[in-house]
């Protein structure tokens, strides 16, 4: 059977959803990041000087972009899939001859597109503040893509396992936001005491922030190759786990 039509239907539905509610999905990141650039980048950054040879503004731009990609790819899938499940219109997909991997890839694509679109919006805003030549566009783009994929998958699993609307805000508030802030968006881990440097190495977001920063301005605290291996490993694991949950019908079937 040819599933491309079903796949496109899911993806277009997802895109249409976040575009229709753009004041909730696209506008807030534009406002928050403008504030980040103004306050941290300009007001405070001017007094900080440079980190690893980059101006503070240039240093934080990649981290802020990737942080937006993370939170929006995650948020898109978790809220869309959870409300689909909550309203029970997931049943429209379950009765149809749509295999689980199409359901998964449709929702994940929606999350990736939203994440990258927000990333582009934030990047365009950053052009007003920062000024650097892109160091390695391929590394920057592939890091953004893999990051969006990874967090869309995580959002999907969260939505499957969630049993209430509270359950879909726990991970973003208590895991993603802290890990992002501690992921070296606003500082270099080299500035931390050794113990904290070691602890930070356990934070996956640190790797993505640094790989993306390397792609944009050529500065990184972390081995880029290791980042790609880690991201791929996470993506494979989360994909298999999602497919397993779908196969078992966990969270969507009685």
């Amino acid at each position: 059977m040819n599933y491309s039509i079903a796949f496109k239907t899911i993806v277009f539905k997802e895109i249409y959803r976040f575009l229709r509610i753009w004041p909730q999905t696209l506008l807030p990141p534009a406002i928050t990041t403008t504030l980040y650039f103004l306050i941290f980048g300009k007001l405070i950054g001017d007094r900080i000087g440079t980190i690893s040879g980059a101006s503070y503004m240039d240093y934080i731009v990649p981290g802020i972009i990737i942080m937006s990609v993370i939170s929006h790819s995650y948020a898109n899938v978790v809220s869309s899939f959870y409300s689909t499940k909550f309203q029970r219109n997931i049943e429209e997909l379950l009765v149809a001859p749509v295999p689980n991997w199409i359901i998964l890839s449709g929702y994940i694509s929606g999350g990736i597109i939203r994440g990258l679109l927000v990333g582009i919006v934030v990047a365009l805003i950053s052009l007003l503040f920062a000024d650097f030549a892109v160091h390695n566009i391929a590394i920057a783009l592939s890091t953004a893509l893999l990051t969006a994929t990874l967090f869309s998958l995580a959002g999907f699993i969260n939505a499957l396992l969630a049993e209430s609307f509270d359950d879909i805000s726990i991970i973003p508030n208590f895991v993603l936001t802290p890990l992002s802030y501690l992921g070296g968006v606003f500082y270099s881990v080299a500035m931390l005491p050794t113990v904290w440097q070691t602890i930070s190495m356990g934070n996956p977001i640190l790797y993505m922030v640094n790989a993306f920063r390397y792609g944009l301005i050529g500065v990184s605290d972390i081995d880029i190759q290791l980042t790609f291996i880690m991201m791929s490993g996470f993506i494979v694991t989360l994909t298999l786990f999602s497919l397993y949950l779908l196969y078992k019908g966990i969270g969507i079937k009685n």
Partner: protein
């Protein structure tokens, strides 16, 4: 060809409740089949399993020869489901809901648009196509679900209480629509609590109670098992005493209304000639209860 075949189907929900206790059922291609039973009997559970919304604990489901476990996608393509409860996205438009479903079934855009228009017109919803579905009335929402279920022209249409909460006029038009669809070759499985609806539409019937099939036969032979018919007669003139007719039980409900229980072998002609002989004029007559309803009560109560 069997449109549906259930083999020893069982379902125990996660809370330990056994909703289906080994169901065997066959529905022939082209049939108009009634699945009846009291609240909580297990009808929706069975339908849920057939349409992949509920996981069976054990047993087999085969749809037009395609096993639901081993030939899942093909089995699913044969089915159109109208669920008991509204389950579409309340923020989508009527047209969007039906179009999306066509997409999930892999229908190319152009054909999907044609089919959507056709089904919405059939359900008398074409004028409402751009309405956001949460603004529809309950009966309209139900019709949206019927249009959605038919968009891919399924060979087996399963309707779980489609006429609940629908006004008389729409209900009649739904009956016509279901009969028309059935005549065009679509097999229909219908659940309903309106037994006269099942009686007039369906050819075969299964009654399920507490997770077991308690009756499964064709409507005609089931109804012929009723040996006594109950009628209510409206009379032209008031009566003072209850008339007596051999073999019949008669009750004077009010001075101009009689309730009569009459065995099949007596027949209405004999009844009327006796009434005429006693100078009793009958203005109108109706069944006391629906015949199927009587059988149903007997079967479900006799456990």
């Amino acid at each position: 060809m069997k449109a549906l075949s259930l083999g020893n189907l069982r379902k125990t929900y996660s809370n330990g409740f056994e909703a289906l206790k080994g169901i065997n059922l066959q529905v022939e291609e082209g049939d108009f089949f009634a699945l009846l039973g009291p609240n909580g009997a297990g009808k929706s559970t069975a339908i849920g399993i057939i349409s992949s919304l509920v996981t069976a604990s054990s047993g087999s489901v085969s749809i037009f020869g395609h096993d639901l476990k081993t030939d899942r996608e093909r089995a699913k393509s044969c089915i159109g489901l109208v669920p008991q409860e509204v389950n579409f996205n309340q923020f989508d438009t009527v047209k969007g809901i039906v179009l999306n479903q066509a997409g999930y079934y892999g229908m190319p855009r152009k054909l999907a648009l044609q089919r959507t228009e056709h089904c919405l017109k059939q359900m008398d919803l074409w004028d409402r196509r751009d309405t956001v579905s949460r603004r529809l009335s309950g009966g309209m929402k139900r019709r949206v679900m019927i249009a959605r279920a038919m968009v891919h022209a399924p060979k087996l249409l399963i309707l779980d209480e489609p006429t609940a909460g629908v006004d008389i006029e729409i209900r009649r038009s739904m009956w016509l629509m279901m009969q028309e669809v059935n005549q065009q070759g679509t097999t229909i499985i219908l659940t309903t609590h309106y037994l006269e609806e099942a009686e007039s539409l369906c050819r075969n019937i299964a009654i399920i109670d507490e997770g077991r099939i308690v009756e499964n036969s064709d409507m005609a032979s089931l109804l012929s098992r009723l040996h006594i018919d109950h009628f209510i007669l409206d009379l032209a003139e008031p009566l003072k005493t209850t008339p007596i007719i051999d073999g019949c039980q008669i009750e004077l409900i009010s001075d101009k209304v009689l309730a009569i229980a009459i065995p099949k072998e007596i027949g209405l002609n004999q009844l009327f000639s006796q009434l005429t002989a006693q100078n009793i004029q009958v203005m109108s007559l109706k069944n006391k209860t629906n015949r199927l309803e009587q059988l149903f009560m007997d079967l479900v109560a006799s456990k």
